[in-house]
Symmetry: C2
């Protein structure tokens, strides 16, 4: 556990905002859980929104790392992204995608938090594009966006069903997509 106040705040924010929602968690609560004094909070962050942005940046980096490492462990097969998701869904405290949740809660598309969350999705698409290209798939850019749509659909569905099943469902759809894509490529 981190000794610095800032790290403790971000850690508490990642847990509380994710579990209960951004607007549902007040500053008081963050201070209690992190053990940071009120003054220290505003020495490190100009506002609560500032902490939200920091939390989203942390989420972006952690989840992309987990995804990439999990896929690498599985031989860099594109479909493995859904197996990594299934693992996440099985976690007891899973509550969807923090970026999607943030874009829902922070309605204004121009707000800093919303933009960081949207940027996360762009970076994941970029990763998927490289993954699909390396696996030799044509139309990898189109496939990457379709994979992202399937992943987001699985995230939202898992938020409702609370099982890993949506990841398997999305994987089956993605497999059909790759099969069709390959057939089209062979035919073309």
């Amino acid at each position: 556990m981190p000794t610095h106040a800032r790290d403790r705040l971000v850690q508490a924010a990642e847990h509380l905002f994710y579990a209960e929602g951004i607007r549902a968690v007040g500053v008081e609560r963050l201070l209690t859980v992190s053990g940071v004094g009120r003054a220290s909070f505003y020495r490190h962050f100009s506002s609560k929104d500032d902490l939200v942005v920091a939390m989203l940046r942390g989420y972006d980096q952690r989840w992309r790392r987990v995804l990439a490492e999990g896929v690498t462990e599985r031989g860099n097969q594109p479909l493995a992204v859904f197996d990594v998701m299934a693992e996440r869904f099985e976690s007891a405290d899973f509550r969807g995608c923090a970026s999607i949740n943030a874009m829902v809660e922070l309605a204004d598309p121009d707000s800093p938090g919303h933009q960081v969350a949207a940027e996360h999705k762009r970076l994941v698409i970029e990763y998927l594009d490289g993954l699909l290209a390396a696996a030799g798939h044509d139309h990898h850019a189109t496939l990457a966006e379709q994979f992202m749509l399937l992943m987001d659909g699985a995230m939202v569905t898992a938020l409702r069903e609370r099982t890993a099943e949506p990841a398997h469902r999305a994987k089956a759809v993605a497999a059909a997509l790759l099969a069709t894509s390959a057939t089209a490529a062979h035919a073309g």
Copy 2:
């Protein structure tokens, strides 16, 4: 425009909660926009949460009716659901699916609002199941859940991209899915 206070409140709630978020809109705001007195609010609803539930029920009924009518106009082809979605995405004030947004904001799965939102998805899946069965597709129950995942994925993606494109993207994936499903049925 309705004359009854209750109707005006629900109408204001559907607009404001959808556009800005449930927690972001206070009771004061609802009263101003609807032109309803504070006392009248609590004569019709026991709490703000009560109004949230009423708003979600209204959303459920309206969106399922729009979907069914739009699909019927297009000859009851299952893939038409994505064309109806594309129309919705083009609306200037589109801000995703009110049910998904509610499930994100109302983190507690046992809260009334969360459950009404989840029920909406079940009803849409039920509709899709009937649509796919009527169109003669095998495994219609599985396909219905996969369609729902694609629709939710498109909703979330459109929230970020702000165009109708995610609907077309999801439709392409669904078409590949139906093609694979038909091939598998022929092979089996």
